[in-house]
């Protein structure tokens, strides 16, 4: 059962977008900046004009004003009301289904306990840390009992570790409360970790809707230039080792890949997850290779190094600083390690 369906939705930025979000699903929209991700959220919330049709499980949403759409919108800049306390921010969002000040305050307390921030009820937004503000904004969106949550880059402004923690929290809450969510992000890791399905948006078009594990295969270099292109290695001679690993052969070398419980023919690894150095690094001799540099491309503080390894090719990404330290140039030989936990069968 679809909670939201879009049929040929278009405006100045979006071009014929059609897809559905199902009951209990988390749907992620990924794409480069300017692809129309935020515009699509605004269209759904009724904040931007469009043609085409949008339905919720309650009927058509076309022409329905934002305050009647029941779309909880978590804005990138949160937009907590600065003149209200945390509790005030929550109670103002509660609709007519909760009658009475006392009941509203009780509901607010419940939500704040869920978010683990019940101690902050009487604080003002500017007295909170970034992560706390994020939780308040999520609690507020939930307080309005929306049919679906729209989240715009919800974790992008946060410190890496806090973002990771909040993602886990979000997943936990979603399982517990069973809300539907559509979130946009440019962080692939985030999309893979949270989403049940992922839509790839490019130049206002929805080019793919895929399961998280299939994303790397579907997005070809032309469409997904924003995606850090993973290396897809064609492997053969697979053998289960019995300790949660699968041994595979690539470029005439033996590698270990974590056993994720499903069959595969290829292995994906992101360029940033490959370690290289000029000398063979210390440590266990697992998943190592030697390669020769074919090409070095520099962009935005990072260097993409194209290696040939025993007739196969692989891309490695390192910082420019590290490139300078190693003093590498085309034709040099390097030693590399494919980080075990970063290898994914697909």
């Amino acid at each position: 059962m679809a909670v939201i369906s879009l049929v040929n939705v278009r405006n100045l930025i979006l071009k014929d977008i059609s897809f559905e979000i199902n009951e209990g699903e988390i749907f992620a929209l990924v794409g480069p900046s300017g692809a129309g991700k935020t515009t699509l959220l605004q269209v759904l919330a009724g904040l931007a004009p469009y043609t085409g049709r949008i339905f919720s499980d309650a009927g058509s949403l076309d022409g329905v004003p934002p305050y009647k759409r029941r779309m909880g919108y978590l804005f990138q800049d949160l937009l907590l009301f600065p003149h209200l306390t945390v509790e005030g921010n929550l109670t103002i969002a509660m609709g007519r289904e909760i009658v009475g000040k006392k009941q509203k305050r009780e509901r607010a307390t419940e939500l704040l306990i869920l978010m683990g921030i019940s101690a902050l009820a009487k604080r003002f937004p500017h007295e909170l840390s970034g992560g706390e503000q994020q939780r308040v904004a999520l609690a507020r969106a939930l307080a309005s009992s929306p049919g679906i949550l729209l989240l715009d880059e919800p974790f992008s402004s946060l410190d890496f570790r806090i973002a990771r923690y909040l993602r886990l929290e979000f997943k936990r809450l979603q399982r517990m409360l069973g809300f539907n969510a559509l979130f946009v992000t440019h962080n692939m890791e985030e999309a893979r970790e949270l989403a049940d399905r992922i839509g790839v948006l490019k130049d206002g078009r929805l080019v793919h809707v895929v399961k998280p594990d299939d994303l790397w295969l579907k997005a070809d270099p032309g469409e997904g230039a924003f995606l850090e292109q993973p290396n897809i290695l064609n492997v053969c001679n697979q053998r289960e080792t019995g300790n949660g690993l699968i041994e595979v052969e690539w470029a005439g070398l033996r590698f270990f890949v974590p056993d994720e419980g499903k069959g595969f023919e290829r292995v994906a690894i992101r360029p940033g997850d490959i370690f290289i150095s000029t000398l063979d690094p210390p440590g266990p001799p697992v998943n190592r290779f030697k390669g020769r540099i074919k090409k070095i491309t520099e962009a935005e503080g990072m260097a993409l190094i194209h290696l040939t390894v025993g007739g196969e090719e692989i891309d490695v990404e390192i910082t420019i600083e590290y490139l300078r330290t190693l003093n590498l140039s085309t034709g040099d030989q390097v030693c590399g390690i494919l980080k075990l936990r970063s290898l994914h069968g697909c």
């Binding site: 919330a45 009724g46 904040l47 004003p65 934002p66 305050y67 009647k68 759409r69 029941r70 779309m71 909880g72 919108y73 804005f75 800049d77 949160l78 937009l79 907590l80 009301f81 600065p82 003149h83 209200l84 103002i92 969002a93 609709g95 003002f124 937004p125 500017h126 007295e127 970034g130 503000q133 507020r140 969106a141 307080a143 309005s144 729209l150 402004s157």
Partner: protein, 267 residues
């Protein structure tokens, strides 16, 4: 540079001396006893009461007209907005005396004036005229300051409110208005200061009838003309006190940056 600063200091000192001299001349012209008798006279009390009432009425009208106007100008663009916006500035730069003449001609013995008189609204040479004159001066001030105050509140907060299911009117009163509160309050105080001290336009529209359309500034004018220095000075000192109170209130509003009231770049 030192010589330059010295010259500037002389200028500053002369200005301060002049202001202090004026205050001194007003306050110490009469003995305390004479002043007290005058202040407790029926005429001064009448003028004070009339000024408070007419300025209050003018501010209410100015708010009813100016607040929504300011909001619209801050939020929407529409055909003719620039012209309307400029039109609102005219009362701010117009000599009040001339504005008064204009109001007199518009509401006097004209089609509009006669029809208003028929339904019992006599604006000309009545206290209501004072309200009209003051409202004319105060409304654009309120509209201006409200526009600036609403512009400080990002419309994205209104978006957020609406996605939370809060209706537009409730959004205005519970989100936008409280967030713009400080600027609006300053505007009200400034407009009130202009209204209570308003003389030129009031003189033209309401006239200067003793104990009828005698606001504080009119009372100063009437009594200086007729040599009643005591009453004139009492009213003048009340106006000075009002000015001080307004300065204090404005300072208080400025200092009172309550937690969370519009801050830039909410993170």
């Amino acid at each position: 540079m030192k010589g330059l600063y010295r010259l500037c200091f002389i200028a500053l000192f002369l200005m301060a001396l002049l202001v202090a001299g004026v205050l001194f001349a007003l306050i110490f012209r009469l003995s305390f006893k004479e002043l007290w008798d005058a202040i407790s006279s029926a005429e001064v009390l009448f003028a004070l009461r009339l000024s408070l009432l007419t300025s209050l009425g003018a501010i209410i009208i100015a708010l009813i007209l100016g607040l929504p106007s300011g909001y619209l100008l801050a939020r929407r663009s529409f055909r003719g907005k620039a012209i309307l916006d400029t039109l609102l500035d005219i009362p701010l730069v117009m000599t009040p005396l001339v504005a008064g003449v204009g109001l007199l001609f518009l509401f006097g013995n004209t089609f509009l004036g006669r029809h208003l008189a028929k339904v019992g609204i006599n604006l000309i040479f009545s206290p209501w005229g004072a309200v009209l004159a003051q409202a004319f001066i105060a409304s654009p001030i309120i509209a201006r300051t409200c526009k600036a105050a609403f512009e400080e509140v990002s419309p994205r907060y209104e978006w957020a409110a609406q996605t939370l299911g809060i209706r537009p009117l409730r959004t205005f009163f519970r989100v936008t208005l409280p967030m713009a509160r400080q600027g609006i309050l300053s505007g009200i105080v400034l407009a009130w200061a202009r209204a209570i001290g308003e003389f030129g336009a009031t003189l033209m529209v309401a006239g200067s009838t003793r104990m009828k359309t005698e606001t504080l500034p009119i009372a100063v004018f009437l009594n200086i003309s007729s040599g009643e220095i005591g009453i004139a000075l009492s009213c003048a000192l009340i106006l000075i006190a009002v000015g001080f109170i307004i300065l204090l209130i404005l300072k208080q509003i400025g200092n009172n940056h309550r937690p969370g009231l519009p801050m830039k770049g909410i993170g």
